[in-house]
Amino acid sequence: MSKLGQAKRIIFLKTADGQLFEVDEPVAMEFEIVKSFFDENEDAADDTVVPLPNVSAEPLAGIIEFCKAHVEFRANGAAGKDEVKKFNAEYIKEKSNEQLKELILAANYLNIKEMLDFLTETIANRLKNKSVEYVRAFFGIENDFTPQEEEAVRKEYEWAFEGVDED
């Protein structure tokens, strides 16, 4: 970790596709994986580049944007306020499902709990009250039940299908 107490330390991150990112320390420390990298390598030089072999540049840029905003919210005591909700809503508005998935996998690898929570909730919101067929299409699931098997499973979970209109 930074021992000299510089005003602003920069952490260098290198993605799978070879891009170098310069991230302010407090933002980079939101990534559990980066934090533990420096915890384990206390002597790491200030210009050490942390390799992120499972993350590519596009989702990383998105994650940095998210974490940066949230670090600032916390610093300003805005955590949990409407401002944050507004930012979050804005943040995901333009994201496609494919982008969301990339973000989830990257946030999972980087181990950013708060963001992962937010992203999975976003997906859940996109699925809320949707039909079985819709969910199948959403996840690209092939139905491999025979009609008899499907009937048997439906019976077992009968209560969950009552009053549901199939479309």
């Binding site: 494919e98 699925l127 996840f139 690209g140 699931i141 491999d144």
Partner: protein, 401 residues
């Protein structure tokens, strides 16, 4: 939706998504596909609350003193299980009891189900103490089923001596240990979902019927388990996703069925007295087969088909097949007859019934059918088609009967 899809997320992320949905919608994911059904079964969030909606109905029930069979299903969401009413313990003449959607609290000091022969618990929350009490005081019990039950870290069934059929299907991520020690047990069904669950069934050496489903055994664990049942006559293995190789050698085995084991690569079966063999929804294995009985084979093929695949299929099928069903999805077929003949010069095998339901391009469809007929002569061929392109390709010239 177009192409904007999400696929292949790791299971715990899917669980995390589920945790943001209503119980009802989560339960609906059960019918998405087999894999999702499995994901749901391993979804560990439950909590309970009480209601006394039905108290008066139970009082009336119990008043019927000589009721012999009782089957009660409480249709609730899994998080609001009904507390098992003590009044039911007073139905002393019960022989069959089936409960769905209950939570067992502390039982009375003595349970008077003296005549109970069959107890089936479905979606029941139960503790080790209650299981211990039920099994030691229902001395005539012959059949005991735990289906999708919770609350047990350890399932230990050592009584009663009369028990013949036992099914254990406990919610995952809870179960740590299964111990069954009943010499006369005939049939054991295990649905475990769980890695690292200690299983001790060495006391059941007379077992005849073993059914494993969703047991995540590795090859060694699976074969060790089998080795403890020398008298086994019926074996069914399904949805055991981790097993890669199966080796079975037995003079006694009569019925064998292997299904939905997606990672299965090789089987070695030496069962001279087998009466039926089912091999369904697995891939074509590397095989060594001595199973002279009718087979029922169902293959789902999701990859492209090359000559090697056909060679592997022919080697596997070289026996008496009653029924062969192929379900293909979007495959390319590349079949080289010369190479195939060099690899396997023997004539095609005879098959009773072949059914094909491919969704492949019509250009590959003819090739698939052609190649298949180099492997087997079907007595009956069923071909599903849904456009004229497919039909035009089929021109049958058969001299074989």
């Amino acid at each position: 939706m177009g192409v904007d899809r999400i696929s292949y997320l790791p299971p715990f992320i899917i669980h995390q998504i589920m945790s943001h949905l209503s119980r009802k919608q989560v339960a609906q994911t059960s019918i998405l596909s087999k894999k999702w059904n499995y994901l749901l079964a391993s979804f560990p969030i439950f909590n309970f609350d009480e209601t006394d909606l039905f108290q008066s109905e139970f009082d009336i029930l119990a008043a019927e003193k000589d009721v012999k069979e009782l089957d009660i299903t409480i249709k609730t969401d899994d998080k609001r299980l009904y507390i098992f009413p003590h009044i039911i313990y007073s139905a002393k003449l019960l022989t069959t009891l089936r409960l769905n959607g209950f939570k067992f609290e502390k039982p009375p000091d003595t349970i008077r189900f003296f005549f109970l022969k069959k107890l089936e618990l479905v979606r029941v929350h139960i503790s080790e103490t209650v299981v211990e009490k039920l099994t030691s005081e229902c001395v005539l019990l012959e059949e005991l089923y735990f289906r999708r039950c919770w609350g047990l870290k350890c399932v230990c069934i050592c009584k009663p001596d009369e028990l013949k059929i036992l099914q254990i299907h406990i919610a995952p991520s809870e179960l740590e240990r299964v111990k069954v020690d009943i010499l006369g047990l005939q049939q054991l069904d295990l649905v475990l979902y769980q890695r690292l669950c200690e299983i001790d069934v060495s006391g059941c050496s007379q077992l005849k019927d073993l059914r494993l489903a969703c047991c995540l055994f590795c090859d060694e664990e699976f074969h060790y388990l089998l080795s403890q049942f020398p008298l086994l006559e019926n074996l069914s293995v399904s949805s055991c996703f981790v097993i890669k190789r199966i080796k079975i050698s037995s003079d006694r085995l009569k019925n064998l069925s292997i299904g939905y084991c997606s990672d299965l690569e090789a089987i070695d079966v030496d069962t001279p007295n087998l009466l039926s063999f089912g091999y369904e929804y697995n891939s074509v294995p590397l095989s060594s087969m001595n199973a002279p009985c009718p087979w029922k084979v169902r293959l789902v093929i999701e990859h492209d088909l090359d000559t090697n695949w056909y060679l592997k299929l022919k080697k596997f099928l070289a026996s008496e097949i009653k029924e062969l069903t192929l379900r293909c999805t979007l495959n390319e077929v590349s079949f080289d007859l010369e190479e195939f003949r060099n690899g396997s010069p023997s004539p095609p095998c005879k098959v009773g019934y072949v059914s094909l339901s491919p969704t492949i391009l019509s250009s590959d469809y003819g090739a698939l059918l052609d190649a298949l007929l180099w492997i087997c002569y079907p007595k009956c061929l069923v071909v599903e088609t849904w456009n004229n392109d497919h039909i035009n390709l089929i021109e049958v010239q058969s001299s074989y009967h």
